[in-house]
């Protein structure tokens, strides 16, 4: 479904991604593991088109999408949950969802009502301004917002960051539920969590992929874990 070939991405003069390649197949949950600053977020942003790579090629659903702006990626069926959540703080929860639904204009299972049913917590908060939600509530809302595009694939950047364990558990449930229908690319520092929800994983370090394998292989590889994941 998604194929990333040798991408190089820069922030100004600094060469962040130095030839990253990986792929995600339909129906999979693939996680990208690595430390803070290893290049996970940049990879996500490159795929989404927020920071287009200078070299390399990205193919999504059989079409080359390198360099397309994010809004075009959304129309093609990619949805994005950024690391720092980025709710629209002055819009209500319902408006946040609604805007995403209108902007993407993709038909499918999800719409505001369906989503609010799936997330009863959001339903209760639907008229609250998103900026006034707690971190966990915001995280759920942002995932819900991404689903409003009825995406074929969902990019989740560090969804667990800064969340209480109880919320992480709930999040895990949500991901387990939606992974039935949506392919997911997930970046996480919380490796145990990532390995629980994913099928396969890649380990990234200094802008390069250092290892990849199934979740099982990753869990068994002590060296990888201590060297790159600081577990």
């Amino acid at each position: 479904m998604l194929e990333v070939r040798e991408i190089h991405t820069y922030y100004g003069d600094s060469h962040v991604l130095q030839g990253v390649s990986f792929e995600v197949n339909k129906g999979e949950v693939v996680c990208l593991l690595g430390r803070n600053g290893a290049g996970k977020t940049t990879t996500m942003r490159s795929v989404m088109g927020v920071v287009p790579p200078r070299e390399g090629k990205i193919t999504f659903l059989g079409e080359e999408t390198t360099g397309l702006p994010p809004y075009r990626m959304v129309k093609k069926g990619m949805a994005y949950v950024p690391e720092d959540r980025r709710v629209f703080p002055d819009l209500t929860v319902e408006e946040n969802l609604e805007v995403a639904y209108i902007a993407a204009r993709r038909e499918g299972r999800w719409n505001v009502e369906v989503i609010l049913e799936l997330f009863p917590m959001l339903n209760r908060l639907r008229n609250r301004k998103a900026g006034h939600l707690s971190g966990g509530e915001q995280q759920l809302m942002v995932i819900a917002r991404a689903l409003m595009a009825n995406p074929a694939m969902l990019i989740l950047d560090e969804p667990c960051e800064g969340l209480a364990p109880i919320i992480v558990e709930e999040l895990e449930g949500v991901i387990m539920e939606i992974r039935q229908e949506v392919t997911i690319l997930l970046a996480e520092q919380n490796a145990p969590f990532a390995l629980r929800v994913s099928h396969r994983g890649y380990v990234i370090e200094k802008g390069r992929i250092k290892f990849h394998g199934t979740t099982k292989e990753l869990m068994e590889n002590q060296e990888i874990q201590s060297r790159y994941l600081a577990l």
Partner: protein, 254 residues
């Protein structure tokens, strides 16, 4: 015991609107030790730094540094008293050279900032001191480079260098190894240890890399959702079931 305490926090709270980022935290930092503050992202560590160093005003509570109340002082006055800090996000003077980054801090410390007519290059003593700091950091060759062109790890070192150049009594490092490669992390850890041994400055740091924390900290505070969850020696923290279960998710032993 009393004069061993360099920084004393009493019932410190900081609210943004209704949300309390820090809730009634009290702690004491001893002189001449390396103290670490740990906690997950969002636990309030950075807010804690910003309140203590004067970027934010606390909602309630008191902060005493070397016996003097600094609760509502502006940042530059707190820095003048000898409480230095580094930042989690690299926060240096990007368009200036590496040397100038350090020099700016030295100018401030030696109170030469209002010297208007004497060229910077005629302050031989300051230049020398800057060079010795850069040498200590292993950045001597890069003194004339523009800071924005440095590698990430070097930028973090410049960050520490700026903090050190103001001759602090105590220095607060915010995630000094964030985003570093294992090699860079090792370099940073040994740098901190060297600096600590050579200068005797009190170090206070936050860190997410537990290995680093347990290898260098004498004392650890654990912050969780804005409150102080636990404190103690590394050993005590490692074995504290509350910490282990509720927050570190078992990965301590890994």
């Amino acid at each position: 015991m009393e004069d061993k305490v360099i920084l004393s926090i009493e019932n410190l709270s900081k609210a943004f609107g209704k949300f309390y980022a820090i809730k009634k935290v009290s702690l004491q930092v001893s002189k001449g030790e390396i103290t670490a503050l740990i906690g997950p992202n969002g636990a309030g560590k950075t807010t804690f730094y910003n309140v203590v160093t004067g970027k934010y005003k606390p909602t309630s509570g008191r902060i005493l540094f070397m016996g003097r109340e600094i609760t509502n002082l502006p940042a530059h006055k707190i820095a003048r008293l000898g409480l230095g800090r580094s930042f989690q996000i690299t926060n240096i003077f990007l368009e200036n050279t590496v040397e100038e980054n350090i020099l700016a801090a030295l100018v401030s410390y030696h109170r030469k900032g209002l010297s208007l007519f004497k060229g910077m290059n005629r302050y031989k003593d300051l230049l020398e001191e800057a060079h010795s700091i850069l040498e200590m950091l292993g950045l001597k060759d890069k003194a004339q480079e523009t800071a924005k062109n440095l590698a990430y790890g070097d930028k973090r070192l410049v960050e520490i260098g700026i903090a050190m150049a103001v001759h602090p009594k105590m220095i607060m490092l915010d995630e000094p190894t964030a985003g570093m490669t294992p090699e860079e992390t090792e370099r940073m850890v040994s740098m901190i240890q060297t600096l600590f041994q050579e200068t005797g400055i009190t170090f206070f740091l936050t860190e997410h890399d537990m290995k680093v924390v347990f290898s260098i900290a004498h004392r650890i505070f654990v912050l969780h959702q804005g409150s102080l969850l636990a404190q103690g020696t590394p050993e005590e923290i490692r074995n504290n079931p509350k910490v282990k279960e509720a927050y570190l998710g078992g990965s301590l032993d890994a």
